[in-house]
Amino acid sequence: MLKKIFSKSYFYGGLGVFLVFSAAPFYIMLITMFKRSHDLFGPTNNPFWLNEAPTLEHLDLLFNQTLFPRFLLNTFLVGLAVVVITVLLAVPAAISLARLAGRWGESVGIGIFLTYLIPPTLLFIPLSRVVSFLGLQNSLWSLVLVYPTFTVPFCTWLLMSFFKSIPKDIEEQALVDGCSRIGAMARVLLPLSVPGIITVVVFSFTLVAHEYIYALSFIQDSANKTIGIGMTTELVRGDVFYWGALMGGALIASIPVAVLYTIFLDRIISGMTMSDVRR
């Protein structure tokens, strides 16, 4: 009995330590966001609690006097465009690799997964030349053009194993029932892979919100920045930190992305471990 209580308290103790470690920065964002400046900048005040009545002054500043809403909009627009491009490119490729391409499909699939390993930090220098050659510096279109380089490989891989998990019989049945090859894909394969496609949509979108290096390299105009670089370059100016607004903005932008990502976490992880994505 005593042993059980012991092991239970160890368990909750351990979990508590990890919880504090993971969530503390977000907790401090939440508190700081509502702190009055006087409270915030008093070195003896408890930084982990509201010592004075909460205030919305920082959020007011954030939404009305900074480009924060613009950053959000930019990120959303780029995300939308990238999602559309990713789905249009990855779905046919994944079907082809899973169903039509036979033995060499396997190798091409692994090849595509390998390109996912080429990091932005290896490509951003030449890509910055490509972008400027196309006259897209400082334009959101540069991100729309380049972001699919990391969404497409992983999403193709994810969808490929998803399509493989759908029995071939069902598609062949559609062929026998009067569909053309493309008809069978559209009428049978796609409706059955809606969960996989939703995963890909969400994953591409969150990756866009996560991206930092390309945005930092290609965009200098404040009005065209996405959320990550916008927050860290526009709201952090030399020694002037709008701490309350900065914390609030980081939290407000993080949570929806994190929620979306978490919903599909299991499927994304099984894509990474190259195991079955069936669920």
Partner: protein
């Protein structure tokens, strides 16, 4: 609606559906990848797009540059320390999260936050945490009497200046990397644990194997592919990352004490406009990435066999 007969043929349809992706990847990954090589053997800059090949000049210049050597060393220290600690910690966290408890979904959500939230934004929280004046961490240490008193363990000053002192800045960057990677490593580990069939472990139990024998003879060998995947992605995300460094220290304190290869390449190539040297620096990622690719290929082969 009848499609032309041609579209019924797999040999036509299969390549046709792959062409858009192949073309796109070729133009925006393959071509720039080659360009990175070409640049690194040339004297190209932003201002001077007509370039000449200069052989290994950039590489020898880079290798003689003490900042580069420091960055390379830093990158390795960051990567290996982070991965080592992440592997150990994720093992512990997995044991905890495999259990059932109340509000698990909420706890899980909070523990996954560092990975699921955009890293640049998460790191902003650390900027405040490690601030030179208002650091909540320093406040905590002061209120515990560890800092800011004449005989205090960590010294008499009122602040530790986390991001202002080389050693502490480096430690800070490492901790943020661990903070970020731990959830990913844990999720991969849990997925691996769940994929071990219960019967295998039960069979071992029936065969009379004790906990440690099971761990070393059954669980760990079966988990090996999963652990390699963890190492693979951890390496990829720490070795080539510059976000954490850029947001926290921009490579400083001023003496490049937290400069890494990625941030150095950015400094030289984008901010300094010296494309050739920037490309040369970033090409040092290549051998590591090739190694990672080899791991993936081995894993993929195994996945095909099973």
């Amino acid at each position: 609606m009848r499609m032309p007969r041609l579209f019924e043929r797999e040999t036509v349809l299969a390549p046709l559906m792959l062409v858009p992706v192949a073309l796109y990847m070729l133009l925006l990954v393959g071509f720039p990848f080659l360009m990175a090589f070409v640049y690194s053997f040339s004297n190209v800059t932003v201002g001077n797009p007509e370039f000449h090949m200069t052989g290994f000049g950039n590489f020898s210049a880079v290798l003689r540059d003490p900042v580069f050597l420091k960055s390379l060393l830093n990158t390795c220290i960051f990567t290996f320390t982070s991965i080592g600690l992440v592997l150990v910690l994720s093992n512990m966290l997995t044991e905890l999260l495999m259990r059932e408890f109340r509000f698990k979904w909420l706890i899980r959500f909070l523990i996954m936050l560092p990975w699921t939230a955009p890293i640049a934004l998460g790191t902003i929280g650390y900027l405040w945490f490690l601030d030179s004046v208002f650091s909540p961490l320093d406040w905590l240490l002061r209120s515990w009497g560890l800092l800011g008193k004449p005989q205090a363990l960590l010294g008499p000053m009122s602040n530790l200046y986390w991001l202002g002192r080389p050693g502490l800045a480096m430690a800070s960057v490492i901790v943020v990397h661990i903070w970020r990677l731990l959830p990913l490593a844990t999720m991969i580990r849990i997925a691996g644990m769940n994929s071990i069939p219960r019967e295998v472990i039960e069979a071992a139990q029936v065969d009379g194997a004790g906990y440690y024998r099971r761990l070393f003879h059954i669980v760990l060998p079966l988990l090996l592919p999963v652990i390699s995947v963890t190492v693979l992605f951890s390496t990829l995300f720490t070795f080539t990352d510059m976000t954490v460094v850029w947001v926290l220290t921009k490579g400083g304190p001023p003496d490049n004490s937290t400069q890494v290869l990625a941030s150095l390449a950015f400094l030289k190539g984008i901010q300094g406009g010296d494309l050739a040297q920037g490309a040369a620096v970033s090409l040092f990622f290549f051998p590591v990435l090739a190694g990672l690719a080899a791991v993936v290929l081995r894993l993929a082969k195994k996945a095909v066999v099973t």
